[in-house]
Amino acid sequence: MSAVSQPLARRRAGPRWSLWAPAALLALLVVIALAAPWLAPYSPTQQNLLARLKPPGFVSRGVTYWLGSDELGRDLLSRLIHGARISLLVAFSSVILSGLVGTTLGMMAGYLRGPVETVVMRVVDIFLSVPAILLAIITVAVLGPGLINVIVVLALTRWPRYARVAYGQTLGVSNMPYVRLAAFMGARAPRILWRHVLPNIIGAMTVVATLEFGLMVLFEAGLSFLGLGVQPPTASWGAMLSTGRNYLATAWWIATFPGLCLFVLVLAVNLIGDDLRDRFDPRAS
């Protein structure tokens, strides 16, 4: 009974906290990342070998290590704040790149059909049959580590997810009379895809992008954890987690705080994705 009345109640509930709360959290993280140089109390790379592995709240020569210091005596809070830039930059860029490539190819496959469909969708199948992180690791290992390479590699390995969804959505939309009518009025494929198909599948693509965003944060962390992402001394949550692991028994804070940050970011993004999915899925309402 309550299950039946719930959607109605939810629609009447005014502001959608399931969307706004995680969105606010994400916005906060974005602001922190953008304002990192001004927000961070100290330099993220300034070492103090006399204050190595100090616990949160440690004060040394007028410097307060609010979240403690790492194995080289660098301020963990400052590194976390700067690390947010890397996580968000990599996630945003790779999502946008792979989303553009995947959506374009998926729409072309779904609308043009024929040989385009066969080629694109078989390539998608091949990509999806190989674990993405494995593919990413191999490619980075070949291209070499570094920020730009990580973004390119993530875009290259993740576009098939978008292509798959865009393809399915386009197949559906292409059979709508208004798409056929556009062709009957003399519009050609690029225009039809841009003006008639894309606006009608963008909702679904947004949902995929949001869910992928969380995954991209984790992929970057994973690559950095393995030493294939951004290189020291640049701060990255994944790399911090990696070094902190060695000191887990003696200095728990080094690995714990980056881990918490990752957890909060991915959770926020996934909550947004879930909410958007419910919103764009006609069966949910």
Partner: protein
């Protein structure tokens, strides 16, 4: 523009000559020939699956992927459309010939303002942009009888009724002043009062602009209301054609006779059942040899195993494809 010599003023606008279409090898349109003069309305009528829509779609090269035109030529205003490539055909569509569909609401993009959808053809074919295209679109919306068109142009399709959406679609089809309008069941999805309004609108536009219309319908009421000439299709072939009044008054082909007899009448006897044509339309791969109506025709005889030609019958302007038109007069 085209290499062909300019057509004479009284030459037909649209000529379809011996058109044949197959779907997976099954014949769905077979030897259809039509001729439509300027300012006339030709109705293509028949049951579902008789090939009338496919005939119309193949005029503009818009057949579904599985269908293939195997024979025939289509000439619009002296230009051979079957000789054009896809790019050249796209320039003809929406400009020289447009289409309106039977599903007005679904035929409009739900996420585009209706004014923009009307202006789309102007942008595509006339190169108009922004304010100019908008002004013409609003003028066209006013012409198709949309009140307060200036404001309605900003509306999305879901904000308009089905009848309004049909008017929008007609406006979008006519905004480039096409020579030919193909109306595929334009009133089927609308309720009766709106149907009457839309037919009235098409009448008005026709009188005003001298539009040439190819009307595809199964509704004999719409045919009587709108058309000058009728071509009745059965099994992918034209079985009878001629001017509306003559054909309705005295159908020569048994199929037409039976089809007209199925229309319920208000003055009929009260206990009378609705009349039907016996049997069902065979699927496209199971046509009988010869006359395709043979399997359902009460007059079928041995001679019907040979395909009857579409020949003049009763008057110079009428044709029917039946061996037994003389006997058909006694039917129904």
């Amino acid at each position: 523009m085209s290499a062909a010599s300019p057509p004479a003023a009284d030459a037909p606008l649209l000529v379809v000559d011996d058109l044949a279409v197959t779907i997976n090898g099954a014949s769905v349109v077979d030897g259809v020939s039509l001729s439509l003069r300027r300012g006339r309305v030709l109705a293509l009528v028949g049951e579902s699956g008789c090939g009338k829509s496919l005939t119309a779609l193949s005029i503009l090269g818009l057949l579904p992927k599985a269908a293939r035109r195997v024979r025939g030529r289509v000439t619009l205003d002296g230009q051979d459309l079957t000789a054009l490539d896809e790019r050249a055909l796209a320039r003809v569509r929406g400009d020289q010939a447009s289409v309106i569909f039977q599903e007005p609401v679904a035929s409009l993009n739900p996420l585009m303002r209706v004014g923009d959808q009307v202006a789309e053809a102007l942008r595509l074919h006339r190169g108009l942009t922004g304010e100019e295209a908008r002004r013409e679109a609003v003028a066209m919306l006013t012409r198709v009888g949309i009140p307060d068109a200036e404001r309605r142009a900003e509306a999305y399709p879901f904000e308009l009724s089905g009848g309004m959406c049909q008017r929008v679609m007609i406006a979008a089809a006519l905004v480039c002043q096409p020579k030919l309008l193909i109306a595929d069941e334009p009133t089927t999805a609308l309720d009766v009062t709106v149907q009457a309004q839309i037919l009235g609108l098409m009448h008005g536009l026709r009188a005003e602009a001298g539009a040439t219309i190819l009307l595809i319908t199964h509704d004999m009421g719409v045919v009587a209301e709108m058309a000058d000439d009728v071509a009745v299709m059965y099994g992918g072939r034209i079985v009878e054609s001629g001017p509306v009044e003559e054909l309705f008054a005295d159908p020569a082909h048994p199929y037409t006779r039976l089809l007209l007899a199925t229309i319920p009448r208000l003055d009929g006897r009260r206990k009378e059942h609705l009349r039907t044509i016996e049997g069902v339309v065979p699927t496209a791969d199971q046509w009988p040899d010869g006359c395709r109506f043979r399997s359902r025709c009460p007059l079928a005889a041995d001679i019907c195993s040979r395909t009857p030609p579409l020949e003049p019958v009763r008057s110079a302007v009428r044709r029917a494809a039946c061996w037994r038109t003389a006997e058909a007069a006694a039917l129904a």
